[in-house]
């Protein structure tokens, strides 16, 4: 048997029972590697359940910065007998299994190295409290792994100390558990494992953060003061993150009062209604939800669209349709969000690719919504939202006043003759608005979802209403002027094949391109960051013979949006679709594209 030998390049997968405290230990394991300067990407694959069902935790370690999911496991840590079979089957030949050998087991694979760590026995021997015996199991294997992989134990001891700030009593037993594993490994496992972690400086100025946390903070920087939400996986932690940062940064030091209001609404309809009410009244407000919430919000979305009330809506996508797979990832709400609500509508969407962009887009979204006076969606997903990603440090430079878009205050109202809420004054389709209570005589108007004229008066004149609808269309058609532009991987196109993709697929793309290039199939790639699409997207499509559109859904929803704009030939568009709820892998992308291309060798030629 040839053992897998590698430095700073492997995938390790933990299999646990949920509710057993494993996630935090596994997270600590990953963070230790990160602290050691080596890029990691942890993925928590958890059930829609609180306690007792199988849960997995996958960590990819890769110093080339390939941090997308990679199929095939190099090291398995199966702690859940329920899923042993599946877990062991996934291990690559030459790989390693570290298991709790308190109950010995024959895994019937002689192409892998089985490492026997009697975790339960060690815990029983060292701890008396049954709860502790259970809980500390996780740290025992972390300790053993640290030894096996060559990660200095000090890193973990420091992490343990930090984790229990305020609960210092817990530090000692945790450290003890870690040491049990470490020492046992040192004694018994020497030379067993040829996979190693080597100190590096690749995580400098990087942080390990999940997208919901980052988005919550982004909302604070975006000037959001009102958040109305309803709990739903995987968006809950966004509202919770916002709450935490508000409590940290937004409580008035003198009065102890809150410069924010966060409402756990009775449902998603109410959540969006509150956010709309607050925005209408001049506060920056948002809601965060997932697919089922978007479905429920459809009516209110149409109201905000037609009455032109800005509002920011986060959709942390999960596996649909219906209740679907609440704890798995997908990009399958794209179409619904783009055209949400009955009647003719179209909504700007932002597609952040990682937690850093969640932070940035969250903050930006409030400017954009105010500017465009329309509901604006940020389509993140469970993978970005709930997993820790390694990204550059968050950065903020703009301490100017927020850009509230076209709002008239009392002074501005005094200057104008007659205020027309829905007039196209600047020929950009964007009208001026006023907040309630601004002026005793001027600027009041009636916001409504029923047909209205340029002065917000109710009208049943179909032509007047059609004019207003056309102005709104113009506003949305021009919105790419304000939205984040698509980005390319290459400075200059050089291939006849272009890849379009968006969102969390980003993390797998560089690796996909490298794999394709290695196979003589160099491709260009562009990441779409917003809808409606800007000119750069059409140019990219035009510049290539074939376009692969990579999506994490069944029905090629982004491709549908591209086709719907009626600007490109359908024949050149090919879909690469992954919708099994796991984050898409570079292997899947590159293999799918290779399959399409067959034996063809592509040349790198500079293109327009």
């Amino acid at each position: 048997m040839k053992k897998i030998t590698s430095v700073n390049d492997f995938v390790i997968k933990f299999a646990n029972v949920n509710g057993s405290g494993s996630a935090s230990a596994n997270q600590m394991f990953a963070k230790g590697i990160f602290r050691y300067g080596v890029p990691v990407s942890p993925k928590n694959i958890f059930p829609s359940n609180i306690q007792g069902l199988p849960t997995w935790f996958e960590v990819r370690v890769n110093d080339k910065g390939y941090l997308g999911r990679r199929a095939g496991i190099d090291i398995a840590v199966p702690m859940n007998p329920q899923s042993y079979n599946k877990d062991i089957a996934e291990v690559n030949a030459g790989g390693y299994v570290l298991y709790d050998s308190s109950w010995k087991r024959n895994f019937n694979r002689n192409d892998i190295t089985i490492i026997e760590l009697p975790i339960t026995s060690l815990c029983i021997a060292e701890f008396t409290n049954p709860k502790q015996r259970q809980l500390f199991k996780n740290l025992v294997y972390v300790g053993a792994l640290a030894y096996l992989l060559d990660i200095p134990k000090e890193i973990y001891i420091k992490l343990i100390k930090e984790q229990f700030i305020g609960k210092e009593k817990l530090i000692a037993p945790n450290v003890k558990a870690f040491n049990i594993g470490f020492s046992y490994a040192k004694k018994h496992f020497q030379g067993l494992c040829d996979i190693k972690v080597k100190k590096s400086n690749l995580t400098k100025n990087k942080i390990l953060i999940n997208g919901n946390e980052a988005a919550g903070l982004g909302c604070v920087f975006g000037g959001a003061t009102v958040c109305a939400w309803y709990p739903i996986t995987p968006s809950t932690s966004l509202a919770e993150g916002f709450t935490r940062y508000c409590n940290q940064f937004r409580v008035d030091q003198v009065t102890g009062k809150n410069n924010f209001a966060i409402v756990q609404a009775e449902d998603e309809l109410a959540a969006l209604g509150m956010a709309i009410g607050a925005n209408w009244n001049g506060a920056r407000a948002f809601t965060a939800t997932s697919g089922p919430g978007i479905s429920l919000m459809n009516e209110f979305i149409g109201l905000a669209y037609f009455a032109e009330v800005p509002v920011v809506i986060f959709d942390i996508q999960r596996g649909g349709p219906s209740t679907g797979m609440p704890t798995r990832t997908q990009q399958s709400d794209v179409l619904l969000c783009a055209y949400a609500s009955h009647g003719d509508t179209k909504h700007p969407l932002l597609f952040p690719a990682d937690p850093k962009e969640c932070f940035e887009f969250a903050a930006l979204a409030f400017n954009l919504a105010d500017r465009l006076q329309t509901p604006l969606f940020i389509l993140s997903d469970l993978d970005i939202g709930m997993n820790d990603w390694m990204v550059p440090e968050l950065n903020w430079d703009n301490f100017d006043e927020f850009d509230r878009g076209k709002v008239l205050d009392a002074k501005a109202l005094d200057k104008i003759d007659k205020f027309g809420r829905y007039q196209d004054v600047d020929n950009d389709g964007i009208p001026y608005r006023t907040y309630p209570g601004t002026h005793p005589k001027k600027g009041a108007f009636f916001t409504r979802g029923s047909s209205h004229d340029a002065f917000a008066a109710y009208t049943e004149d179909g032509v007047v209403n059609a004019e207003n609808l056309s102005r709104i269309k113009k506003k949305i058609d021009l919105s790419p002027n304000y939205l984040p532009k698509a980005l390319t991987k290459q400075d200059r196109n050089f291939s006849e094949i272009g890849i379009l993709y968006f969102g969390s697929t980003e993390v797998a793309m560089q690796e996909s391109l490298d794999l394709l290039a290695k196979d003589n199939k160099p491709c260009d790639a562009m990441r779409i960051r917003s809808f409606p699409f800007g000119e750069e997207v059409w140019n990219f499509i035009d510049a290539h013979k074939t376009i692969f559109i990579v999506e994490q859904n069944r029905d090629a929803q982004l491709k549908t949006l591209i086709l719907a704009e009626c600007k490109t030939n359908h024949k050149k568009l090919k879909s690469i679709l992954c919708f099994d709820g796991s984050p898409i892998t570079a292997n899947f992308i590159s293999l799918s594209i290779k399959q399409h291309l067959g034996n063809k060798t592509l040349k790198k030629v500079a293109r327009k």
């Binding site: 940290q248 809150n258 009775e266 109410a270 209604g273 509150m274 925005n279 209408w280 009244n281 001049g282």
Partner: protein
Amino acid sequence: MTYIGKPKNHHPALERNKIGLTRRDYEGTISTLCAGCGHDSISAAIVDACFQLNISAHKVAKLSGIGCSSKSPSYFLNQAHGFNSVHGRMPSVATGANLANKNLIYMGVSGDGDTASIGIGQFMHAVRRQVNMVYIVENNGTYGLTKGQFSATNDLNSKNKYGDENLFEPIDLAKMAIQLGAGFVARSFSGDKDQLIPILKAAIEFNGFALVDIISPCVAFNNHAGSTKSYDYVREHNESVSLLDFVPSKKEITTKYKSGQRTNVKLHSGAYISLKKIDKKFNPTNKNMVLDKIYKAEDQGNILTGLLYINEKVREHCNIMNVTDTPLNSMGSKELLPSRQNLKAVNASFR
């Protein structure tokens, strides 16, 4: 049948209030409701109440759902911003608006269809949150705008225009609100201006959720014999629980009334509600007693009107949520942005 017709553009009495405005300054656009619709009388009463309270109209936000009733906010306070939202969802919009600026007066107008059917969930949760607003239900027991279907407040066995009997028990929004802990619950009748205006004034001054459930006959679809929401029926079965006077300040009470037959309730704003009780033993601050009294009136086939319940000690939503005094909508980057230092600390916490 309405005590005053559609709001007119030129009003005869050009009397001015303390802030120098005339009643006309509180009017809205011309009503497009049916002549005689109870809802128009309520709009007129709102105009009167605001005029008498010397309110600056632009400091009011008018919100509604969908229905004939929900059209009403167009017909009063032209200088106030209005939001005619979607069917049954006004409470959430009002809740959000209220958080954005706690310094305006929030006046929600809804119908019985809008509130008791599609909107009952939002209504209940707005009550539960104690959103600081006046919540007016223009209750006609029918879906006016969609042409006369039974609403959920329609009484069992009451007949529709075509003679069909309603098969279901009504939802009584007032009882619901009392049970849910609303601080101010009143019931009135669009045809009883003398009762309605002081109730509206008190509701506006009240700090917290104030429900005013107003029976407001629909002349087009529910004003026939056999209906329990017709003008005639309500007039005949109207049982007033007390006579309410709204008194802007304590001083005026003492000069005007002898104590004894009256209870005075001091509001948060400093104003007083002075209740002349009809049933001496009735205590509008005792939930059980109030509910009991309503049930008893029902048993006698009567509709109990007046200020049914008051608890001036409730805290309103912004207060419960510890929201700062400055309206949130007026805060800028200076108040709201964390510092560079803050962000640095956050970054550090993710290493």
